[in-house]
Amino acid sequence: MTSNEFVGARSVAEIRRDFPGIAAFAAAGAAYLDSAATSQRPNVVIDTERDYLAGGIAPVHRGASNATGESTNLFEEARSAVADFVGVAENEVVWTLNATDAINMVSLGMADASAGLGGSAAARFALQPGDEIVITEAEHHANLIPWQHLAKRTGAVLRAVRVDQQGLWSLDDLAVTLSDRTRVVAVADVSNVTGAITDVAAVVELAHARGALVVLDACQSVPHRPTNFTDLGVDFAAFSAHKMLGPNGLGVLAGRAELLDALPPARTGGSTITKVTLDDAEFLPAPLRFEAGTQAVSQVIALGAAVGYLNELGMPAVAAHEQTLAMELAERVAAMPGIRLVGPPPGAPRAGLVSVAVDGVHAHDVGQVLDSNGVIVRVGHHCAQPLHRALGLTATVRASAHVYTEASELDGFMEGLAEVQRFFKVPAGATA
């Protein structure tokens, strides 16, 4: 059966041919529904990295050879492409190890500022005992634990906006959690478990009215939806390359230039400095002040190609494709007896992921049956233990989409759930 699905002008069938990983899974009879964890890479990303490596590599931002200049140009062109992709200026994109590292760059920088580093320019980041950091119960551990540590280091108080039985939190609850002591509000743009989409502009308005900084975990939005951090007004944002058709080992910290230029660099060392004496060092403006040591040059260049690929498809079309698939899947699982859908109810907008629990069967057992049916999903707490605790579940099963996902793969997921119920003889399975 030929699919008639499209992402913008290109058919999904054609897009799938760009991804050797998808072809390899398909040859093995498997459907990849775990792109929220890590995405497959198109040939153009793999080839760009390989071509760069094979063409003779050289260090960036150091030395004076022509080869160094060429590597530096490619490296900075990729930065420019990524900056355009998320609506910020080139000097507002900092390379990090991954998105987790990017969030830590902010929390550790604030800890350093609280300890007096960075001088008067960094005083705006210094927390006092009794200051408040606000997160939500739905956050990924990467956007929770760094703030726990910052609170412990500074005597600040960590306050959480609670979720309801579906795992959703509200702007009303956020509003009453904020106070004039709130200094940071750290939330995800899209929940990696529920697929709920945050009204970021509204969060920014509430937070800025209290004088608080907004740190956005954009891991599940940037790869899947048009995202413009400047329009949203966020102060800092983090996302990772490997979820957006790019390579591993690379994340991005985006931030407003005036803030990045004042935030103390959490990691220090070579290539971040202007003047170094035995007693002290002065740092370059962002982004280089944060990029200590040798950077992931080939990965950065490959990420530039990934952004180019996504731009050609068009992010509005990517978002529409994935949202259509996820909303369809949410309706189908919600209609199935013995299956609990978490997150937005059927019919409500959601990003391209759906998490469920099968009554009477542990998520790992569900995942095992799906796997043997050729359906690759993520099982576990998805690095969101507090959220799962609030849901009354130890783990869920998550299916997630990307540009190459086609509707027929959802059929496999649904058939797999029915097979789970039959195999483990849970009540709803009798009629499935």
Binding site: H364, G380, T394, A395
Partner: protein
């Protein structure tokens, strides 16, 4: 037998449902809590000793069918064993789970627990099967340390 059936043999599904040894244990000599952070499976295992012998063993926990079934199987096998016999059992079970499906496990030693041989082909599930067994091993180690001091 399909791959799935070789992993989830009927005896495993039965052991997971029947949960032999599930419950509290009064007057326990040793207690150990094990937690698998990747999936949230957790289990507390307690033993009561009579000299060198495990006179009582009980566990409480939540987890996938593999972890619950293996706790059941352990409860059947280890109760009444000597400390040394229990350690021998754990060693044999671990060796079987590290076999990646190779060899034939010793039914004389492992009894019904040979049903878990199929789990050894699923590297992501080996920890599930080891959960209760690792907890018992920690209890045995604690007893040895106490005796040595």
């Amino acid at each position: 037998m399909t791959n799935l059936e070789s992993l989830y043999q009927d005896i495993i599904l039965d052991l997971a449902k029947s949960r032999h040894g599930d419950g509290p244990l009064d007057g326990a000599d040793h207690e150990h809590h094990e937690y698998n952070p990747t999936c949230g499976d957790q289990l507390t295992l307690r033993i009561k000793l009579d000299g060198d012998q495990i006179a009582g063993l009980a566990w409480q926990g939540d987890g996938c069918s593999i972890s619950m079934a293996s706790a059941s199987a352990l409860s059947d096998l280890a109760t009444g064993q000597t400390l040394e016999g229990a350690q021998h059992l754990i060693d044999a079970f671990r060796e079987m789970l590290r076999s990646k499906g190779a060899g034939t496990p010793d039914e004389d030693v492992l009894g019904d627990a040979i049903a878990f041989h199929g789990v050894s082909k699923y590297i992501m599930r080996v920890k599930c099967a080891m959960l209760a067994w690792v907890a018992l091993e920690a209890c045995l180690t604690e007893e040895r340390v106490q005796r040595a001091s």
